[in-house]
């Protein structure tokens, strides 16, 4: 069997691991346009923060490719997929043939058209090791930095550089920060926390006109800056999929086996949609664990397996020591706890835990996450107890025996 993977990141690694769990000998080839062995993309902000380095950013040990007998074409772009001939053509004309192909092309920064953007000399995105290195080279202790986008990536960038620059301004069209994972109260709490660290926010606002060093905002304010970072969002890389004839609607459409609509082509990670069990919809979930696990399932199935992948949106992220864990969806009845430095919201509906927002107190959060993922009826646990703190005491004794004493699930042999 001849496997080709386009993209050399998290979903690709998952795919290799999935393939090798079933097929030790088939040939695997990875094409990746970044000139590095696989690294952890989220760590680019920690690199600027100084809490990791390129060596420790490696997502897998140096012998990963060799051990798994993977041939790599790194620093090379795949230009064309021909699904009839089952070939992939690289930018230098090399043609690879495949029996099974994985599209693991991830996403790219979205840079919306903004007036005068071309006149800004020092502008960056924040998605890849090279973009982080370029930004780092431009940083000076007195730099005034303007970040467009108060989402996860823009704010992780802000955290990474806050102590290395003069000040940071963040502009976002939304009326609050981190709107994709937080509710209003959570956003306000995080904003206050970030403001203590040299970061100013300009919300419900956007840039009307850039000059070399200024941004005139729609509100009439003008911000001076030396360095601009555009982090308004990401878009999936779907061009190859479209070319190959795969159905695409924003992301590459996949079924729970991670197959696309074209025979022998699979997709996983940020470029693909996955089935979100909490909203019952197919969505792009640009999250690292999702990319790895979807890639693993794709790989296992490319090697003849019958595995199925469904996803749960979830985020663990921290800023300057204040940690957030969120999961699921927030439509339902809310149970809220507030303490100094802590905001906790659990959302229930139809007798199930559907979602959560935890800020400041994240201890044992996975017990909640598993209630959401497993769709555990809350009638089978002591919800009053578990509401206070996640704990296994809230489960029935027979369930604890399964969890902690090696007892078998009823119906298991």
């Amino acid at each position: 069997m001849n496997y080709v993977i386009i993209g050399n990141s998290i979903a690709a690694v998952g795919c290799v691991e999935g393939i090798r769990s079933r097929d030790k000998t088939g040939s695997i080839t990875i094409v990746g346009d970044e000139p590095y062995p696989v690294y952890s993309r989220p760590l680019i902000s920690y690199l600027l923060l100084g809490s990791t380095d390129e060596e420790h950013m490696k997502y897998r040990p140096d012998d990963f490719y060799e051990k798994n007998h993977v041939k790599t074409y790194l620093g090379r772009r795949a230009e064309k997929v021909n699904s009839a001939a089952k070939t992939v053509t690289l930018e230098d004309g090399t043609v690879l043939t495949y029996d099974k192909l994985l599209l693991a092309t991830g996403s790219k920064p979205f840079v919306p058209p903004m007036a005068g953007l071309d006149s800004v000399p020092e502008k960056f995105t924040f998605m890849a090791l090279d973009s982080a290195k370029a930004l780092e080279a431009a940083l000076k202790p007195a730099s005034r930095v303007l970040i467009i986008g108060a989402g996860l990536i823009g704010l992780k960038c802000a955290e990474g550089i806050a102590d290395r620059v003069g000040h940071i301004d963040v502009v976002d069209m939304a009326d609050r920060i981190l709107p994709s994972i937080l509710d209003e109260e959570g956003s306000a709490m995080m904003q206050k926390h970030l403001e203590k660290h040299n970061i100013r926010f300009f919300l419900s606002d956007s840039v009307a006109q850039f000059t070399e060093n200024t941004a005139a905002l729609k509100s009439g304010k003008t911000l001076d800056f030396d360095i601009l970072v555009v982090a308004v969002g990401v878009r999936p890389n779907v061009e190859l999929a479209q070319q190959a004839g795969c159905e695409v609607s924003r992301g590459i459409c996949t079924d729970t086996s991670c197959a696309t609509t074209v025979k022998d082509i699979y997709a996983a990670g940020d470029c693909a949609k996955s089935y979100d069990i909490t909203t019952d919809t197919d969505r792009i979930l640009a999250l690292l664990p999702n990319a790895h696990m979807q890639g693993m399932t794709a790989g296992a199935n490319m090697a003849g397996g019958q595995e199925s992948y469904t996803a749960l949106p979830m985020n663990a992220i921290g800023f300057f020591g204040l940690h957030i864990i969120t999961a699921g969806c927030y439509d339902g009845e809310a149970y809220i706890t507030r303490e100094p430095g802590v905001y906790k919201k659990l959302i229930t509906k139809d007798g199930l835990l559907k979602g959560m927002i935890l800020i400041g107190d994240i201890a044992r959060a996975g017990i909640y996450t598993s209630l959401i993922r497993e769709k555990t009826p809350l009638s089978t646990v002591d919800f009053d107890l578990i509401k206070e703190h996640p704990q296994l005491m809230a489960f029935a004794k027979k369930d604890r025996k399964i969890k902690l004493a090696g007892a078998k699930q009823e119906g298991d042999a």
Partner: protein, 144 residues
């Protein structure tokens, strides 16, 4: 695979396992020096309830979701033991978000995580929590 299993009927809630865990992982060789007047950060936690107590530590799952979800590659499973490479970990707490047993926790400094590694990475060599349990409320054995 040998694992730490819980006999909750026998747990007295004495917390000795927590102290032995903290001591084994302290790098010290004298318990009073390691623990006296200090807040301890054990990797095993006793849950106390109405007449029921039990100690919870990493299950070293067959198919560990913490390892699959780790964003840095710091968590791995070797010879049945789930280990953390604290030089790679950045303390994002993704593993804390996904562990269904609540058995991964922030390390005392808050910059990395810690978890039970069955005392394979410290001088004890076998689970100190089990060794010191006066009532066999936790045992280290192979139950398949």
């Amino acid at each position: 695979m040998k694992r730490v299993y819980v006999n909750e009927e026998w747990c007295l809630g004495c917390h000795l396992c927590e102290y032995n865990c903290a001591f084994a992982n302290s790098g010290e060789d004298y318990m009073p020096k390691a623990l006296k007047d200090k807040t301890i950060y054990p990797r095993i936690q006793v849950e106390e309830g109405d007449g029921v107590n039990f100690a919870v530590s990493c299950r070293h799952c067959e198919d560990p979701i913490c390892v699959k979800s780790c964003i840095t590659g710091a968590l791995s499973k070797e010879d049945g033991v789930i280990k953390v490479d604290t030089d790679k970990c950045v303390g994002c707490y993704t593993c804390i978000m996904v562990c269904p047993y609540g058995c991964v926790m922030p390390a005392p400094d808050g910059h990395v995580i810690q978890k039970c590694e069955l005392c394979t990475q410290n001088a004890c060599g076998e689970p100190a929590c089990v060794k010191g349990c006066p009532n066999h409320a936790i045992v280290y054995e192979d139950r398949g």
